[in-house]
C-alpha cells in the first residue's frame, strides 16, 4: 500500500494568489493512498525541502508529489531532496500548478479545481512509479578519429594532449588532407604547409596517438563508451617498421609517368610513392594498379634497392580491432567533379563550363597547386595546356553550389573567400595579369573576411562582375567567357587564358556507407547530421559520436579547427568519468512476450534495438527477441507506441503510469 506525501507550494503568492492551496492540500489528503498532505510558502527553499524530507521520514512516505512549478524547473531539486532521505528519486513527481494553472487562469474557483485535478492525476501516476536505478555504462577512455585532415589532426591532438589515447584512421597514405594541398590561406595569406606540417609531425610523434594511414573503417559495433572498431589496414607493400623513408625506391622506380593526384594530375609520380614530399608517415606505398611488378610479375627494382628490405609485395590487408569510447568523424569534403554527370548521383552534370574538355578550365584546388611553392610549377602560375603564364584569368563562383536545378541548393561557403584569395595570389605572381570574377553575391562574413575581399578588389585590382556565365568556349588558345553583368545590365565577353571554377564542396564519396557503419544520420547531400543545429552542433544523435569539419557541412579552416576542438572537448567531457551515468528513462523489453517482429528496431532513431537469442537450458534456440541497449536508448518511447503487444516499455512512462493519469481525470 502506498503512503504518498503531497506537498503544495504557494510559490510566494505566485500560486496561492489564484489557487486555494489549503483547499488543494486538504482535498489531496483525502485521495486514496495519500498519507500526508500539506502546503508551504516556498517548497523549493531550504526549509521547504527540509519539510519534505522530514515528512518522508516521519510519515514513512513511499512516494512524493510536489505540486509547484513546472517539473522542467525543479524536478531535479525535489528528486535530489527525497533521495537524501533514502527514497528513490523516481518515486517523486511534480504537479505543475503554476505555469499550467495559477499563471494562466484568473478564476480562483476554476484554478483551484484544476489544481486539485492535476494533483490527483500525479498522485495516481506516482503510485505506479517504480524504483529506477541509475544506469551506469563503463567508459573506454580511448578515442577514434576518422580522417587525418586538419579537423582530425586537431581533434586527435587535443584529446591526446588531455592524456587519452587516440586512434587516428586516414584513408590516404599520408595524413594532411586538403589543407596540405593549399598554397596560402585566407584571410592572413600564411603558407598552408608552414602551419600544417608541424601539426602533422606533432601528431605522428605524439605518444598517445596511434596512427593508421592507408586504412579504412570496416565495421563499428557497440555504443557510447564501448565501441569496437574494426579497421582495415590496406596493404601498403612497404613495411612501415622497416622503412627509413630514404626515398631511394622512388628515385629508382621505372614507372615515372603516373599522374600525381595530389597535384590534381598536373605533375607525375612513380608507382612507389609518397603523395607529397612532407607526407606523414614518410613511408611510400606501392600503387599496385600501375606497378610493373604487380602487372607483369617482373621488375622488383624497389625491392632490390631497398637497404632495410622494407618492400613486401606479398603484404595483405589486415584487420585491427580497436576498443574505443568515443568517435570523432572528420572525413572532410571533396570538390564536385563537374567533368561529367557522376553515375547514379542525384546531382546533375555541369557540362557547359568545358571542364575536362578544355584543359585550361580548372577548379579551385588545381589553382591552389599551381600557386603552391611545393606544387608542380614551383609556385608559378602556368596554365596546364601549354605552360604559358595566363594574362587574363576568369574566376567563376558558385559552380554547382546554390543551384537547385542542378541538385545542390546549399552555399559552399568557402568559395567567395578562396576566390578572392586566388585573385590576390595571381596578382602577386603575375603583376601584369588581370583577374575577373563572376559572382552572384559575395558571402564574406567572418573576422577580417570582408576586409580581405575588399582588398582583392580595391588593392589587388580584381574585377568583380555580378552575374553568371552563360557560355564558355575555346577559341584558338583563348577561352571566350560570355556572361552578363547584371548590376549594369550589359553582356560581357572576356577572352581568358585560364578559367578557374569554384566548384561546390561535397561530402567525401562513401560518406553514406561510413554513416551506415557508424549508425549516424546524414542529409540528402550525405553531409552528416548533428544532433541539434544550434545546441548540439558537434554531437551526433548517436551518443558517443562527434563531428568535426566539412563532413558535417562546408567549412573553412578556422571553423573546422574550432569544431574539431569542440568535438575534442566533448570527448574529454565523456572521458572525465570512469562510468557514464544516465537517467534511467530507457526502454526495456519483456522478453517473455516479445515475438521478435522488430517493429521497435524499425522506428528506433538511435539503433538502440538489437537482436537477442533466447535459448533453453540445453542451448536450443527458442526465439529471437528485441533487446534495447540501455547505453544507446535515448528514451523517446516511440518503440513502445509502435509495439503491438507492448512488449517493450519505457521506464518512467509506462502504460500503467499513463493510464493511471487518464483514469484519474
Amino acid at each position: 500500500m502506498s503512503r504518498i506525501g503531497v506537498f503544495i507550494c504557494h510559490c510566494g503568492e505566485n500560486i496561492s494568489r489564484t489557487v486555494d492551496v489549503e483547499l488543494v492540500a486538504s482535498t489531496a489528503s483525502q485521495f486514496p493512498g495519500v498519507a500526508f498532505a500539506t502546503d508551504y510558502k516556498y517548497m523549493c527553499s531550504d526549509p521547504g525541502q527540509s519539510l519534505i524530507k522530514k515528512a518522508v521520514s516521519e510519515h514513512r512516505l513511499t512516494h512524493v508529489v510536489v505540486a509547484a512549478c513546472s517539473p522542467r524547473m525543479h524536478e531535479r531539486t525535489f528528486r535530489k531532496a527525497v533521495e537524501q532521505v533514502g527514497l528513490n528519486p523516481f518515486l517523486c513527481e511534480m504537479a505543475n500548478i503554476r505555469e499550467h494553472c495559477s499563471w494562466v487562469h484568473e478564476d480562483r474557483e476554476e484554478a483551484t479545481q484544476k489544481a486539485i485535478e492535476i494533483v490527483g492525476m500525479l498522485v495516481e501516476r506516482v503510485k505506479k512509479n517504480r524504483v529506477l536505478p541509475t544506469i551506469t555504462v563503463p567508459v573506454t577512455k580511448r578515442a577514434l578519429v576518422i580522417g587525418g585532415g586538419i579537423a582530425g589532426i586537431q581533434a586527435a591532438l587535443d584529446i591526446a594532449d588531455a592524456g587519452h589515447q587516440v586512434v587516428l584512421v586516414e584513408r590516404e597514405p599520408s595524413i594532411g588532407g586538403h589543407m596540405a594541398q593549399l598554397s596560402e590561406t585566407f584571410p592572413t595569406l600564411d603558407c598552408s604547409q608552414c602551419i600544417m606540417t608541424p601539426k602533422m609531425v606533432d601528431l605522428a610523434n605524439h605518444p598517445n596517438i596511434i596512427m593508421h594511414t592507408y586504412s579504412e573503417i570496416e565495421q563499428v559495433d557497440g555504443y557510447i563508451g564501448n565501441f569496437q572498431v574494426t579497421i582495415r589496414k590496406k596493404a601498403r607493400s612497404v613495411d612501415e617498421n622497416k622503412c627509413t623513408g630514404c626515398g631511394i625506391c622512388m628515385t629508382k622506380c621505372p614507372q615515372k609517368k603516373i599522374p600525381n593526384i595530389f597535384d590534381r594530375n598536373l605533375g607525375t609520380r612513380t608507382a612507389i610513392y609518397v603523395p607529397f614530399p612532407q607526407a606523414v608517415p614518410n613511408v611510400p606505398v606501392i600503387d599496385r594498379e600501375n606497378c610493373t611488378m604487380f602487372k607483369t610479375g617482373k621488375c622488383g627494382v624497389c625491392q632490390k634497392v631497398c637497404g632495410p628490405g622494407a618492400i613486401d609485395f606479398n603484404q595483405q590487408d589486415t584487420l585491427i580491432v580497436e576498443p574505443v569510447g568515443a568517435i570523432v568523424v572528420a572525413t572532410g569534403f571533396e570538390l564536385y567533379d563537374i567533368t561529367e554527370k557522376p553515375k547514379g548521383s542525384p546531382i546533375k552534370g555541369y557540362g557547359e563550363f568545358g571542364h575536362g574538355k578544355i584543359p585550361d578550365v580548372i577548379d579551385g584546388l588545381t589553382f591552389e597547386r599551381l600557386a603552391s611553392a611545393s606544387g608542380p610549377t614551383g609556385g608559378k602560375i602556368l596554365r596546364p595546356s601549354d605552360g604559358k603564364e595566363p594574362k587574363q584569368v576568369v574566376f567563376i563562383q558558385c559552380v554547382g553550389s546554390r543551384s537547385r536545378e542542378k541538385g545542390i541548393s546549399y552555399c559552399s561557403k568557402i568559395c567567395c573567400m578562396y576566390t578572392a584569395k586566388h585573385t590576390m595570389l595571381y596578382h602577386h605572381k603575375v603583376h601584369d595579369g588581370q583577374a575577373y570574377v563572376f559572382f552572384m553575391d559575395a558571402r564574406v562574413p567572418g573576422k577580417s573576411y570582408d576586409e580581405f575581399w575588399r582588398r582583392a578588389i580595391e588593392e589587388e585590382e580584381a574585377v568583380y562582375i555580378r552575374g553568371m556565365v552563360s557560355r564558355l568556349y575555346q577559341k584558338g588558345d583563348k577561352i571566350v567567357v560570355m556572361g552578363s553583368d547584371i548590376s549594369v545590365g550589359v553582356q560581357v565577353e572576356i577572352e581568358a587564358d585560364l578559367v578557374v571554377l569554384a566548384t561546390a564542396v561535397q561530402p567525401r564519396k562513401g560518406a553514406d556507407a561510413l554513416a551506415q557503419k557508424l549508425g549516424i544520420s546524414y542529409d540528402k547531400y550525405h553531409f552528416y547530421s548533428e544532433a541539434h543545429a544550434k545546441l548540439k552542433p558537434v554531437e551526433c544523435a548517436t551518443a558517443g559520436i562527434y563531428l568535426a569539419g566539412a563532413c558535417q557541412g562546408p567549412k573553412d579552416i578556422p571553423d573546422t579547427v574550432s569544431q574539431a576542438s569542440a568535438a575534442a572537448a566533448k570527448v574529454m567531457t565523456l572521458f572525465s568519468k570512469d562510468k557514464l551515468e544516465r537517467e534511467p528513462i530507457v526502454a526495456r523489453v519483456k522478453e517473455n512476450n516479445c515475438v521478435g517482429c522488430f517493429a521497435c528496431r524499425k522506428v528506433c532513431a538511435y539503433g538502440a534495438v538489437e537482436e537477442k537469442e533466447i535459448r533453453d537450458r540445453q542451448g536450443n534456440l527458442i526465439k529471437m527477441v528485441a533487446y534495447v541497449n540501455p547505453g544507446v536508448c535515448a528514451g523517446c518511447g516511440t518503440c513502445q507506441a509502435t509495439c503491438p503487444s507492448k512488449s517493450v516499455e519505457l521506464d518512467g512512462y509506462t502504460d500503467e503510469q499513463i493510464v493511471a493519469m487518464i483514469e484519474a481525470l
Binding site: Q30, F31, P32, E124, K127, N592, E663, A664
Partner: protein, 334 residues
C-alpha cells in the same frame, strides 16, 4: 396436459405478456442472423431458423455485473447486484437442443456453490420449447440421445400443427401453471396432426464406449491429429448451449468500477495460464482435449450427464472446420 393454440392467439399472448411487463425472449431477426433476444412485439418472433447463439445466455449472460466498488476518500464502498431484481422472463421458441442443456447446466450451477445469478434467473423464467421440423447436416441431436421433439428442459413444449398453430404440452408444474393462468388463449387439442419432426442424418453414438476410450486416453497421439488445426478461439464454446466457463474481472479505475463475470473458453491460450507464467495446457491439442474430456467424461463423472446436445452450432461456426460429431465418430471407431 395437452392444449392447442393458434398462431394468432400466440401472438396475442405474447403481446399480453409484454403489456404486463414481462420480459419475453425468443428467436428474432438480428441483422442477417437470428438470435434469442427480448421481443418488443409478438411479430418479432422467427421460428424457421436456429438462432446463432444458444439460449443459455438467458441465464448465463455473455457478461454481467457482480458488484460495484467506489472509493470515497480513504474508504471503499461496495454495492452488490441483487439477483432478486432479475426480471420475470418467458423464454419462448426454444430449440429442444437448447432447452435440453438447461437441466444439465443446473447441476453445475447448484453444486458446491449455488450461483444465485444463474439460479435466480432460472427460477424466474419459464422455458417454452418448440419442436424442430428442419435440420441441416451439422445437426446431430439424435446422435447424443436427444431428438428434435425432445421436451427435456422445457416447461411447455410447442409443436407445429399441419394446419398452423401449435400443439402445447406441459411438462412441469411451472408449465401447467402458465397454461392455467393464460387459459383463455389455449384451446383443447382437436386432434390435428403435428408437422413431422426434423430428421438429422446422425446415427446414435455409443456414448459409453466413447467415454470408455476417453477414460484411458488422456495422452494419445489422436489429440494432435484432431486438434493441431484448432486456432484457439472461443467461437465453439460461445455458441454452445452447454459450455459454461466464465471469467471474473474487475473493470474500472482506481476510484470506481465493477466486478464482471463473462464467458470464457477452454480454447483460449490464457485460460489456464498461471500467474507464474506456467501454462499446464501449453499447446492447443491439450486445450481441445479438455473440451472433449469436459463434455463427455469429466461432466459425466461428476454429474452423470454430458455437455453436448447435438445442436451443431460449433460445427457451423468453427473457423477451421472442426466437426465434433466427426471426432466422436472417430473416437467411437477406436
Amino acid at each position: 396436459m395437452q392444449k392447442q393454440i393458434t398462431e394468432a392467439n400466440l401472438r396475442l399472448l405474447i403481446d399480453s405478456l409484454l403489456l404486463k411487463g414481462q420480459r419475453v425472449v425468443g428467436p428474432r431477426q438480428s441483422g442477417a442472423m437470428v438470435l434469442y433476444e427480448p421481443l418488443s412485439s409478438a411479430s418479432d418472433l422467427v421460428f424457421n431458423e436456429q438462432p446463432r447463439r444458444s439460449a443459455k445466455e438467458a441465464f448465463f449472460p455473455i457478461c454481467e455485473d457482480l458488484l460495484e466498488y467506489r472509493k470515497n476518500g480513504q474508504q471503499i464502498d461496495l454495492e452488490d447486484i441483487e439477483p432478486s431484481r432479475f426480471p420475470e422472463t418467458v423464454l419462448i421458441g426454444v430449440r429442444p437442443c437448447d432447452a435440453a442443456a438447461m437441466p444439465v447446466l443446473d447441476s453445475v450451477f447448484s453444486w458446491d456453490y449455488k450461483d444465485q445469478f444463474y439460479l435466480e434467473r432460472r427460477s424466474r423464467t419459464i422455458i417454452i420449447g418448440l419442436a424442430c421440423t428442419s435440420a441441416d447436416d451439422a445437426c446431430f441431436c439424435t446422435a447424443v440421445g436427444l431428438s428434435p421433439g425432445d421436451s427435456k428442459g422445457s416447461d411447455l413444449m410447442f409443436s407445429h400443427l399441419v394446419n398452423g398453430g401449435f400443439l402445447v404440452e406441459s411438462h412441469t408444474d411451472k408449465g401447467a401453471l402458465f397454461l392455467e393462468s393464460w387459459k383463455d388463449r389455449f384451446t383443447e387439442p382437436d386432434g390435428s396432426k403435428t408437422l413431422p419432426l426434423a430428421q438429422p442424418e446422425a446415427t446414435p453414438f455409443d456414448l459409453k464406449k466413447i467415454k470408455g476410450w476417453l477414460d484411458d486416453h488422456f495422452e494419445d497421439p489422436a489429440w494432435d491429429s484432431i486438434a493441431t488445426r484448432c486456432v484457439g478461439c472461443g467461437a465453439c464454446a460461445f455458441v454452445c448451449p452447454a459450455c459454461h466457463c466464465f471469467d471474473i474481472i474487475d473493470e474500472g479505475t482506481e476510484k470506481s468500477g465493477k466486478r464482471r463475470k463473462f464467458w470464457d473458453a477452454c480454447g483460449f491460450s490464457k485460460f489456464t495460464n498461471h500467474a507464474s507464467g506456467h501454462n499446464p495446457r501449453d499447446l492447443q491439442p491439450k486445450r481441445y482435449r479438455n473440451r472433449i474430456m469436459h463434455k463427455f467424461k469429466y461432466y459425466d463423472d461428476k454429474f452423470g450427464q454430458n455437455l453436448c446436445t447435438g445442436c451443431g452450432r460449433c460445427i457451423r461456426v468453427c473457423p477451421v472446420g472442426i466437426d465434433i460429431a466427426g471426432i466422436l465418430e472417430e473416437i467411437e471407431k477406436k
